[in-house]
């Protein structure tokens, strides 16, 4: 165990003394966050309102429902987005669309039969889906109730009963930056894992350090454990820095739970495993580094680091399913931002499986002694 500790300490010192590796593991991710944060903005989510008008006659909104939407619009308080009437699950549509455009997740549904009920003097209900923890919710609900009663009063028949029915939903009001932060973490784990392994296995072999170690009582397993331990350390440091930065500069609140930890452990095994496989197929260190570049960069872009994979063309979506980083990215988002434990669990299990496969393959392929 003390041998493993010595190896971890050696890697950590080397990392700490090299300005370029510090840049790539800490400064570069921060730089990306600032850059993408600036480009996509952090959004003002206060007055966004999605409206789905289900009350149609002959494929067009009924006059009454249209009049009601116009009344809402007239207040100038809302930034109204229309949800197509045929959308069967408007709540989830709103969640996806709101995040992509940095909007608040609030949905008003005008149900089928709205006009009919009004003309027949039956009570008509409008559903307002919103998160009770949404800071804007009391004032928004107030404005909507006020608009609704004045609209009802303005109708010729003053005995009409029109009420707003509030449906609580849980939203995370995620913005682009909330989506991006877990992606940056995934990307950092990918690059430091793959390049770290290529360096410690390819470069150290070239320098005869591995040969020298193989003449000592150190075993191959201890050497690999040392490298993985170092990756865990790096992961902990860069995640801490990225999350603190996201928190204090962009107000991103991320949850660290058992899945987050599982995914980070998986990444600290998976990516060095891939790097070791590369370092053993491409024997010279420079070649292995080129191969590492060729693998990490496309993976970074296709695995949903910078934009959701759902927005990519079908072919690329299929490719994304085969990229290990996809499961790390998705899992981290489910765990840290969306709070979807079931999905986080699935992704964590897949990631751990891939991690086991690659680290074992890399370890078996790695020749500790000479042929």
């Amino acid at each position: 165990m003390s041998r493993v500790y010595t190896i971890v300490k050696g890697h950590v010192k080397t990392w700490f003394r090299s300005k370029s590796t510090i840049f790539w593991t800490l400064a570069f991710p921060i730089l990306l966050i600032v850059l993408f944060g600036a480009i996509f903005g952090t959004g003002n989510t206060r007055f966004d309102l999605y409206v789905q008008n289900q009350d149609l006659t002959a494929n067009a909104p009924t006059p009454s429902s249209q009049g009601y939407v116009a009344a809402l619009n007239h207040t100038g308080a809302f930034n109204i987005q229309t949800v197509p009437a045929e959308m069967s699950n408007p709540v989830s549509y709103v969640r996806d669309d709101a995040q992509l455009h940095n909007r608040g997740q609030r949905l008003l549904v005008i149900p089928v039969g709205f006009q009919n009920n009004l003309t027949n003097r039956k009570p008509a209900d409008i559903q307002l889906y919103m998160d009770q923890s949404d800071q804007a919710s009391p004032s928004l609900a107030g404005v909507i109730t006020a608009v609704t009663s004045s609209y009802a009063a303005s109708l010729s028949n003053s005995t009409v009963s029109l009420s707003v029915q509030q449906v609580p939903i849980v939203t995370h009001n995620t913005r682009y930056i909330d989506f991006f932060i877990p992606g940056v973490i995934g990307m950092t784990l990918l690059t430091s894992g793959v390049f770290g392994a290529v360096n410690t296995n390819g470069r150290y072999r070239e320098l005869k350090i591995i040969k020298k170690l193989a003449t000592t009582p150190l075993s191959k397993i201890e050497w690999i454990l040392g490298m993985v331990g170092y990756q865990m350390f790096l992961a902990a440091i860069s995640i801490t820095v990225i999350l603190l930065f996201g928190r204090f500069v962009f107000g991103v609140t991320a949850t660290i739970d058992i899945y987050t930890i599982g995914l980070v452990v998986a990444a600290a095994l998976l990516f060095p495993g891939i790097g070791m496989v590369l370092a053993n197929f491409v024997k010279d260190a420079d070649g292995a580094e080129a191969a590492a570049n060729a693998i990490t960069f496309p993976m970074m872009f296709l695995a949903g680091t910078f934009w959701p994979t759902e927005t990519m063309p079908t072919v690329l979506k299929v490719i994304a399913n085969y990229l290990p980083l996809t499961y790390i990215n998705n899992g981290l988002r489910d765990a840290m931002i969306y709070l979807e434990p079931a999905q986080a669990l699935t992704n964590t299990i897949i990631a751990l499986g891939l991690a086991g496969f690659f680290i074992i393959l890399g370890s078996v392929l790695m020749s500790w002694k000479e042929e």
Binding site: R3, T6, T14, S18, I209, A214, T216, P217, L218
Partner: protein, 301 residues
């Protein structure tokens, strides 16, 4: 070590060699590039498996798994072209490799041994080639090994740095360590070694002390008269073996028994008597030349 061999596919790198080392000696394995030195050494270090024969290191069998771990504890190794970890200091590197063993020597003591006191806290990458090699030596000694393998420890170093490495090896010898040295420098083997084995094309072609090898295979002594010029040739007595002019105007005369006095008396009264005159013993270079018909340096790095 008995009848050891190693094949890589069809290439026979080491072809049935046998030799033994005595405790406390410096043994030099001398041969040109590609002769099979590294292959042999790495078999003894349990890094490669032999394809034939047996080898024992400190009475442990290199082919037995349980013996291998005993060997590893007791040997010290400086691989060919070894580099320590770039961004660790001299001292940190020594402690790093030392931590791989159950017991390690005091790093200050090792730093003193290789004379790196004032570089102790410098990072390895900032050191010159000669100093780097001295760090490698310290690292090879960190477990206080009974047997030290040094694979071409001075290749690529300038003459000054080579001397410094030699000096460290001499100190090891004084401490009673057994040293297995490989080299393609004849002068290095001659200067440092108690016993030399010359290896060529995977086979040992001669073994013995440097003196024994020179006596047996070195050939004749040579009389050198410096800056005598072509004119000098006419002052030489007739009937002596073929004098040669080398380096423009140095005269080289291979000496048969008894010829030395004849020549010296003959030239005593001529201008040659005022020149620098030297009798040269053959060197291991000549031994190699006589045994193989080639010079080692011709195929050196």
């Amino acid at each position: 070590m008995n009848n050891l061999s190693k094949k890589y596919g069809d290439t026979v790198a080491v072809n049935g060699i046998s030799f033994g080392l005595s405790k406390g000696e410096v043994f030099a394995f001398l041969g040109p590039n590609g002769a099979g030195k590294t292959t042999t050494v790495e078999i003894l270090e349990c890094l490669r498996a032999p394809t034939g024969g047996q080898a024992k290191v400190l009475d442990y069998d290199v082919s037995k798994r349980s013996d291998q771990s005993e060997i590893r504890k007791r040997i010290g190794v400086l691989p060919q072209d070894f580099n320590a970890i770039d961004r660790l200091t001299v001292r940190e590197n020594i402690d790093y490799f030392g931590a791989m063993y159950d017991h390690q020597l005091d790093s200050d003591q090792l730093i003193e041994l290789v004379d790196l006191k004032d570089k102790r806290d410098e990072q390895f990458k900032t050191l010159s080639g000669g100093l780097k090699q001295r760090v490698g030596l310290a690292v090879a000694l960190v477990n206080d090994p009974a047997l030290v393998f040094l694979d071409e420890p001075t290749t690529g170093l300038d003459p000054r740095a080579r001397r410094d490495v030699w000096y460290v090896i001499e100190r090891l010898k004084k401490q009673g360590k057994t040293v297995f040295l490989t080299t393609h420098y004849m002068d290095e083997a001659e200067y440092l070694a108690d016993t030399v084995s010359i290896i060529d094309h995977g086979q040992i072609i001669a073994s013995g002390t440097p003196n024994e090898l020179i006596d047996a295979h070195g050939g004749k002594k040579t009389l050198v008269i410096r800056e005598a010029g072509e004119d000098g040739l006419k002052f030489l007595p007739p009937g002596i073996s073929r004098p040669q002019l080398k380096n423009e105007d140095d005269i080289y005369i291979p000496l048969n028994n008894g010829e030395l006095t004849t020549i010296l008396i003959a030239i005593g009264q001529t201008p040659l008597a005022n020149k620098e005159i030297e009798v040269r013993r053959p060197t291991l270079d000549d031994v190699f030349l006589n045994l193989t018909g080639r010079r080692v340096s011709e195929e050196g790095e």
